[in-house]
Amino acid sequence: MNDDIGLPISHWRRLWLYGVGALVLLFLIVPSLIIVPMSFSGSTLLQFPPESWSLRWYEAYFQSVEWRDATIVSLKAAVLTTIVATPIGVAAAYALNSGALRLAGIVNAVLTASLIIPVILIGIGTFFLYARIGLNNTLTGLVLAHTVQALPLVVLTVLSGFRSYDMNQERVARSLGAGRFAAFWQVTMPQIRFSIVSGALFAFITSFDEVVVSLFISGGETTTLTRRMFSALRDHIDPTIAAISTCLIVLSILLLSAAQLFGRRR
């Protein structure tokens, strides 16, 4: 890799580029981060910087039964989605990586289809299907729909983990008498486990942050946090959402750092 570019252009002459780049980076990061101090505001007006500080919006969030229930539903869905999507994704990535799979191109395209198909179409489609088999407003329906959306991320993450692993090690294990599954579990798995964990974390966050499909298929008892936030935002701008947003940003940072940490250790 071209780690050191080493072109005869001084940093001074590149100053404009760094300036533009820094501005764009600020544009990307500031909107999310500006919410954090505002969520500690003491007034009902969202101000930056806030004139007084308090935890009242966090209290409003944690003491509201509706918000708490919605958060629990989202957490449940995300945990279950992770549990379902990870093994399915790892199995598919294993098969895709082996190179012996026929129609691998088609299999890959189908498994990653949800990245390309407009989410709104998936939302309307699943709602239409669930209405007929009674899965609307159920946790099962939610988990299945989220699994389909999380699957491509697990498959792609684990596939990239396989790329830096030599499959011959598993073959050696099998030639020495290990069964198929034992060879995978004892030899391959430990070496790609970090990419599996990364994939699982991506699955979790995909489910937890999912809005559009949940909008259609969740409701009543199983209203997700994002669905409730969406409805709340359509009415008025409630500062409680600033507190919830801050929690979501912290969650993203934690999961992403964990994924980075595991990703680097392959």
């Binding site: 299945l144 935002l233 992403l256």
Partner: protein
Amino acid sequence: MSVRPAEFVSRGVNADALKADARRESLGLLGLCSPGLALVGIIIVLPIGWLFWLSLFDETGQLSGANYARFVEQASYIRTFLTTFEVAFIVTGLCVLIGYPLAYMLSQLPRRAASICLIFVVLPFWTSVLVRTYAWLVILQRKGLVNNWLIDLGLISQPLPLAHNFAGVIIGMTHILLPFLVLPLYASMKAIDADYLRAAMNLGAPPTATFWQVFFPLSLPGLAAGVVIVFILCLGFFVTPALMGGGKVIMWAMRMEQTTSLYSNWGAGSALGVVLLAVTLGLLGLFRRLLGTRAASVWGSQ
């Protein structure tokens, strides 16, 4: 390197047995994929196929193209399409305009500095779209941060209409989609061999000429990948226009939601979805043909 079982299959004594073994192996691997394939088949392919079937019938249950004819006959649908494409072109253009310099800077920075800057791109990428749309609402609304600051500074006397209109949708969507352009573009720029640039400069090309004649053309495939992704995502974007558009900016996805949820007109809503999917796949197909790249590989570069 993985050795394909098929490579063992030669004209030997065991040819038939080996061939059968390879077939068994392949079937077994297909079995491993089957839970995923079944799930995608049931949750995505089946309902979409069903919706497509529905779209072929009019309200009286007769086979007809009425659901599709509507798109060219009714002015409101035409306006929706025009709005959608207008937003998609503007947002994609803005993403290129501000995303290219950022990706270029990232690709030229030393590795450590670049990976720190990349956090600023990846973190918003993994932050909920709702959170980011909410942030923009807070910043841009009538009594929002921008208007308050501008009024305090005495630059304006009346608040500017920034949210709940076209401008708000453009700003919010550009912010949300920018990482989708920057990440593939950065990956493709990192893959450009710096020796090409050194060679050009050694041969006497000034930095500007080196950039435009060597670096820029080499970065075009990555740029095209990013542009296609951003454009496609724009066409089907729902959350930001629904929340930031103030009911004035009706885009394709919103129209689909309204026709199905509000008016329960499944035929018309399905037809909208079918056309959206066709346009999306058509653009991807065109892109693959032009560049010979696998569209999925772009996603893998995150």
